[in-house]
Amino acid sequence: MGSTTFGNETSWLYPYKSNLYFFALLILLLLLLAYYVGIYYVFSQDYAIETPLKRSSTVEGQALYEVRINYDSSNPVAAMNFVLKEEETGAWFQHKGRDFRIPLMNNLQQYAGNEAQRQSFSIWQGSLNQLSNFLMKHDVSDFEDQENNSNIHQILMKDYYEEYSVIKAEFAQNSLTVTVKSGGANKMLVYFDTDVPGDVTIHWGVCKDKNIRWELPSAPFPPSTRIFRQKALQTALQPKADGSGSWGLFSLEQEIQGVLFVLKLNEYTWLNNKGTDFYIPLTNVISFSSQSCTDCISEDQLSSKEKDIREDQQQLVDKNQTIHQVLYTDEIISGIRNLVTDISSVRGKKAKSREAQESILQEIEKLAAEAYSIFRSSSPAFLEESILESDQTKISGNVSSGTGSGYEILCQGFNWESHKSGRWYCELKPKVVELASLGFTIIWLPPPTESVSPEGYMPKDLYNLNSRYGSMEELKDLVKGFHAVEIKVLGDAVLNHRCAHYQNANGIWNIFGGHLNWDDRAIVADDPHFQGRGNKSSGDNFHAAPNIDHSQDFVRKDLKEWLCWLRKEVGYDGWRLDFVRGFWGGYVGDYLEASEPYFAVGEYWDSLSYKYGEMEFNQDAHRQRIIDWINATNGTAGAFDVTTKGILHTALEKCEYWRLSDEKGKPAGVVGWWPSRAVTFIENHDTGSTQGHWRFPSGKEMQGYAYILTHPGTPAVFYDHIFSHYQQEISKLISIRRRCNIHCRSMVKITKAEKDVYAAEIDEKVAVKIGPGYYEPLSDSHDWVLAAEGYEYKLWEAS
């Protein structure tokens, strides 16, 4: 993360006074940056109180927060424990991983012992404090004053004063604004403005023709510029007067087509545009502003680029986050850096040799990153036959966890009964080749962990992967089998809740065991069944098991580690995320960023809108909730298109096919609004199988598949349907989808949406109709050839 993170030091003051009957505890909080902090302290019994700190005074421009706790000294209380919580972020501050502890009366000997221990910490305090500056973990180190200690020893109850420093690392979200305007006299002015703290150097070049190639502009260069290897300039930006960032103004000739740049923060930290250079086109004569200027003030003659709005929003979010996202370059750098450390640690500490090595490795990693970005963007110059091929390379270059390659076809590889035999993994293994030849690219396997319920959705010890579906070894073997036929494997990750191993003192099951032995702080506070000591849930509660409090740092850290472990150990390529309604999508984004899945899809399932028992035509609110969740994950995950399933139910059941087209003539589900993130399905282990919570209209399944397998989005086919008499028909639809290269962003044109028939053309390659009504595609632009047909559906291919 390097300098993208900055730490704030916070000092704590704990004077306390005593008189005959009362102790007054005064806790003062000195903050460099003002934020609200609550104090959470625990008396030595089993409960805790949360008390907000009050802002009391301002010393030298720094806010001071305090809380005064009056305490009756006649009570036999040994000590007061507390931890601090930052209200805004939910971050906890502890003392070396434990509670802060203020020893009170009646416990003098023990306390003296503690003190001696504490003194020993202070020996290496100084250097530790500096080192920990960049640690992401919130850590609190104590500063101790010899004098104070002795005071405590001697005076005991009279005065207690201790100072701790709290270190807090923060993700910073910064932006860079580039504004271009005409500077008269054949000149253009390019203005860079950023709030990235510290020194920022722009490593830039210009493009003199349409080839986006780094070239030097003609002199004179802006002040404090140096030439980098005759092909780029490095210009240090000037700090702004108010210290909130820096700026630079470059004057360029009118002929220049564009400006390429990356940011350099220091030797190790380069910021780029998701693996490629930032590029500001200066053509179209006048001026242009794009990239990450979410809120740039409009200059005269300013225009901004408009793309597909939804995707663009997405990109803007991405761009703003470039700065705290792990960048490609950074990854390479850190990968190689670890290596360097390994090598050099073996080599001893000779600084010189290390430097020589490291400078070469740095050079290598920079070159590799550059080569990578060019290879990714360059499309080879081939003659006509190869157009298809280069198309395909483009596709594979575009993999993201929200969409996979964009051409995925998902198979749900189990049903509600799959646990019954105890050897599902072994039973599925012989079907691997068959599933591959049917054309699936991704399989979703059942939840792998030890679970209170045999189906796996009540996980207990997350690191125990022996379940009713088989052993961990069998699972790994199965995953290998799928990989051999190039099918990616999704693990079913239940992150919302987790079943406890032990009861607490009140007999409540809320203490976890196993590798992740969390206590009740890992459980959300607002479910009375489980008496969690965490924060309030960031989503809906699932009442059958303790809901995990994802706002806790230690929980998130453990879950990230777990997901990465699953990726590495089992070989999972991605996730199906269970019950994501239960917690904030931002946390999901966090987990996906850490575990870097090839594909991820969340189950956000709530009810559609009904009025007087009849489904409403407009289900925008329903799909908006799903889209809000996807947005919260930053688009890193797709979501099951529950809306589409619901609308299909009514349309097919009641013969109301007009429901499939929304008011704007688009598909009425999530797939109509954000197709690339919609995972369309008609049935799963909950809705169908032996549970049948919301079963798809019986006998009309093939209409459902004719719809989802021809439409954009990523279709998911349910196990029970694959291995049924529908197999032939499903197989045919999949092969048509693949043959026609229909993908998650394909264009759909609804040509008919009436009472008894719905028809659409997709990418002008496939026409489909479902419903009993008559329909034939118009053969004005294409000749349509019947490609498949079945009960109340028909497919045509353009010839």
Partner: protein
């Protein structure tokens, strides 16, 4: 040797400085095969050690000018590392693709300490049209070779005589025109489907190409290459690899990718159904006294999209492959492949004989079904290698006769990763090929098959193993994935750790030595490198 250069530059005074017992540990497997030479062993090992100690430095300062070292017969240096350039480095309209990315990539590889790169050259791109002089358009390839020379790397040139689907690189246009007129010069399976990858092996010595034989045409192509690259042999071009069939490998194009999806367990069809192959088969059958056997290929072999056990020929027990007919057919079929390889390699040997380059050719690693008795994937590709019959003996013998290095792919594959239901065993097959090569003293050059994460560990195991015969290794191949954050750090680690097998703290040179092995050359070399751009 370039390492000697590095050694001088590095300034290690005498081998005695390094504790002798460290050789065993440092040298690891790569020294092992040189054991038995006791004292003299120290020299190459010492070079190797310097290489290990300062791989990156070596790359900067070492081969300032490459010595024409790798002539034929030279040989027991440490394993040479190559990286394949993109298959489409030169496009099918004869222009350089990704020139900038390749130039940058070459510099990264050089700094990393890689020895060289492999350049795939396509017949169809160089000689798209028939010219009487036999000349071709080598300009793009020469330009690429120039980049390689500039980067200070070595070049292994692969002369590909086949066509490729991905990327799409066809056979020369003039060959395609002849094919239109006489499709029988292409291999064909029983279903009549013709494979456009390469010409039928049966026409090698028939004047089917406007009066010339394919072998003659290949020879002209080799000569054209030789004259175009004449100035680069020895110093830049140190290896030439000759494509012997589809995918550049010695095999029949039996399992060509068909349009549409293909069953993963299908193996393809016997490629003996073009007119010329059938004629040869007929003649051979008549000579052996069973004219009826020469009327066609096995009637009970599977079709393209069928599993091998779907019909009688490959049945594990009592399949036709075990009958006298089966033996007759398979012997003939594999013999044709062997003859084809021999013809091409003799011509190549003749053309390149006096050059200071090594000649190599690639065999496939047909590991599917290797655990079965009939090994259908190998049989159908022309390797008569069943339970109880070693088909690689004859192949190794043929390579040995022509003094050609055998390129073996799949060093990264492991049995555990393969599909058990396909009875695959890359490891057993590799060891069988290696054994045959050892027996016939054939040099081996390794390649990977996939760019997988786990592969590196296995490759390293092969290269550093006690009795490894692998003298060079080519990592396939450069491209976006190669430089991606998922792959490149692993590759870096691979190259470096390969150069630096886990050292014990005990085996470390002392600080003084390190000062000597890592002199200021490193820094100055680096500066120069940076200014040069």
């Amino acid at each position: 040797m370039e390492f000697a250069t590095a050694f001088r530059h590095a300034g290690v005074a005498a081998p005695e400085l390094i504790p002798a017992r460290s050789w065993a540990a440092i040298g690891g497997g790569s020294c092992g095969r040189r054991a038995g030479r006791s004292l003299i062993v120290l020299n190459p090992t010492r070079d190797a050690w310097v290489r290990r100690a300062v791989p990156a430095v070596r790359s900067v300062i070492a081969a300032e000018k490459l010595t024409p070292s790798a002539s034929k017969g030279a040989g027991t240096g440490p394993v040479q590392l190559f990286v394949g350039l993109p298959l489409d480095a030169v496009s099918n309209c004869n222009t350089i693709n990704h020139a900038r990315a390749i130039a940058i990539g070459l510099r990264a590889l050089k700094l990393l300490g890689v020895d060289g790169v492999e350049l795939p050259v396509w017949w169809g791109i160089v000689q798209p049209d028939l010219s009487t002089s036999g000349a071709g358009n080598w300009s793009s390839y020469l330009a690429l070779a120039g980049l390689v020379l500039e980067a200070g790397l070595r070049l292994r040139v692969s002369l590909n005589l086949h066509s490729s689907e991905t990327p799409a690189i066809p056979l020369p246009r003039w060959i395609s025109r002849i094919i239109e007129a006489n499709p029988d010069i292409l291999c064909a399976g029983r279903s009549g489907l013709r494979c456009r990858d390469c010409l039928s092996f049966a026409v090698d010595e028939l004047p089917v190409l406007d009066g010339r034989t394919p072998i003659k045409v290949y020879e002209d192509f080799f000569l054209s290459f030789r004259s175009a690259f004449s100035e680069l042999f020895g110093n830049t071009v140190t290896d030439i690899s000759v494509g012997l069939g589809p995918n550049g490998e010695l095999r029949y194009p039996s399992s060509q990718q068909l349009a549409g999806r293909r069953r993963p367990d299908a193996i393809g069809e016997f490629q003996c159904y073009d007119k010329y192959m059938l004629a040869d088969l007929k003649k051979h059958a008549e000579e052996s006294g069973n004219p009826l056997w020469g009327l066609g290929g096995p009637h009970d072999a599977p079709e393209y999209n069928q599993a091998p056990d779907s019909s009688g020929f490959f049945r594990e027990n009592g399949g036709s492959w075990q009958t006298p007919y089966g033996d007759f057919f398979l012997s003939w079929y594999s013999e044709q492949l062997l003859l084809h390889g021999d013809r091409l390699l003799s011509v190549a040997s003749k053309v390149f004989d006096d050059l200071p380059v090594r000649l190599s050719a690639k065999v496939p690693l047909l590991h599917y079904w290797h655990r079965s008795r009939s090994r259908p994937a190998e049989l159908i590709s022309g390797f008569y290698n069943t339970e109880g019959r070693d088909g690689y003996e004859a192949i190794a013998n043929m390579f040995s006769r022509n003094s050609v290095t055998m390129i073996v792919p799949g060093l990264d594959l492991a049995d555990g990763d393969e599909r058990q239901e396909l009875l695959s065993s890359p490891e057993l097959l590799l060891s069988q090929i290696m054994t045959a090569c050892k027996r016939h003293r054939v040099r081996v050059s390794g390649e990977n098959s996939l760019l997988s994460r786990d592969g590196f560990y296995r490759i390293k195991k092969h290269l550093l193993s006690e009795n490894s015969q692998v003298e060079s290794y080519t990592h396939q191949r450069m491209g976006a994935h190669f430089f991606s954050p998922e792959h490149f750090p692993l590759f870096t680690e691979f190259v470096r750790s390969f150069a630096l097998p886990e050292l014990d703290a005990d085996d470390m040179v002392s600080d003084e030595e390190r000062k000597m092995t890592l002199p200021n050359h490193a820094a100055s070399g680096n500066d120069r490198e940076m200014q040069a751009v």
